[in-house]
Symmetry: C2
Subunit: 255 residues, 2 copies
Amino acid sequence: MRILISNDDGIYAPGVRALAEALSDTEHKITVVCPDRERSATGHALTLQEPLRVDQISGIYPSNIEAWACSGTPSDTVKLALDALLSDRPDLVLSGINRGANLGTDVLYSGTVSAAMEGVLEGVPSIAFSLASFAHLDFSAAANFAKKMVKAIAERPLKETILLNVNIPAIAEEDICGAVVTRLGIRRYRDQFEKRVDPRGKTYYWLSGVIIEEEADADTDIQAIRDNYVAITPLKYDLTYATAMSSLQSWTEKL
Amino acid sequence: MRILISNDDGIYAPGVRALAEALSDTEHKITVVCPDRERSATGHALTLQEPLRVDQISGIYPSNIEAWACSGTPSDTVKLALDALLSDRPDLVLSGINRGANLGTDVLYSGTVSAAMEGVLEGVPSIAFSLASFAHLDFSAAANFAKKMVKAIAERPLKETILLNVNIPAIAEEDICGAVVTRLGIRRYRDQFEKRVDPRGKTYYWLSGVIIEEEADADTDIQAIRDNYVAITPLKYDLTYATAMSSLQSWTEKL
């Protein structure tokens, strides 16, 4: 397979390097195209006001992997790779391995998931990988799991062009209990802003936030990670809330 | 009702001013909190690397409307308004009126829709309004329609906390055929990047793109706008592709 790898932590991040290295001894042709710096929490942002630049990177990836840094967001980067940079369309887009979980409603803000979504929007099956910890920086178990998934896709292609959001618990490989298919839970935050005063007496705010409440039923990604399972959540790009359409229709008729 | 108005075109944009002015003679208490400049296509991007500033704006909105400009993205702006700036929780969040349509898969990139999504994520019913043209800059028909929807919500509250994505055709008010409930269509682009060479001989790329193909079945927002109807699409924030879960489960078991 031809595989495009991207991320939102930037081309030099250890997570994407671990992923690329794990796949470098396979028969797949790997190309890495990542933002040139960290672009976390940029969601699906696109760069419209300035042009994009790309530079080939050498010396940090295995020699059989072509690597490019792009000045844009994760969405820009994957779009540019698919539409302008790669001579052949990839068979698979991988994003990550992200430093930190992308669980529940937080996927809306995730550059990692948005990068993978660009692949699916252009008809390429895509997987977003995230290591569910900011502290634990050993990506080897997650990279091995990613490699296993890529092998499985090569042998047993998925039935449709789908986006899989994969979160891997940040524990030793032998302690991972397995992989389960999940749905997104809900994460809520409190104290989202910290108010401060600058040396000139002007107020400013830092976005912060503490997780208070999570919908974590047994079948959610949040609960799977708590139980030391890899959580695999299929995502789609159609945000239509179909079940609300009929009651809304009668409401709209009276407008 | 207490109503929060935001947008992604910035506090000085004519669309948000038309919306606020149309609602200024109602009994509702209106607060406008918008990005301080245009922040289109920023999706759900959040500002984590720098703090946010807000400034009260006077002289451009009716005197009974409090208006604030925020240095962040649309998502930052609504979060900050709800969590730090407003003393009372609003009953409704409105976003727009955007200059240009937000139809189909393009809603993923839309700052207008993301601003409204922040409202729903915090439990407040929200509506995103977009005028389906970049050329036609008369927001009066769209503002009148928005006013009618707000009146309907005050009289007949919606059954659940929902996000409505409303696109209004850019035609004379008397030519609008009515309002219909729709689902999101699909928009695709070709020639997404224009490659140029700078005066120093270096390549750069502009994201551009021409719409080539739209899934525009009769019940889509894209088709409704073509037929001169207002398109009202209910959206949700849960991206789980539930129908793929069972087939994926059997695939995952063999991992």
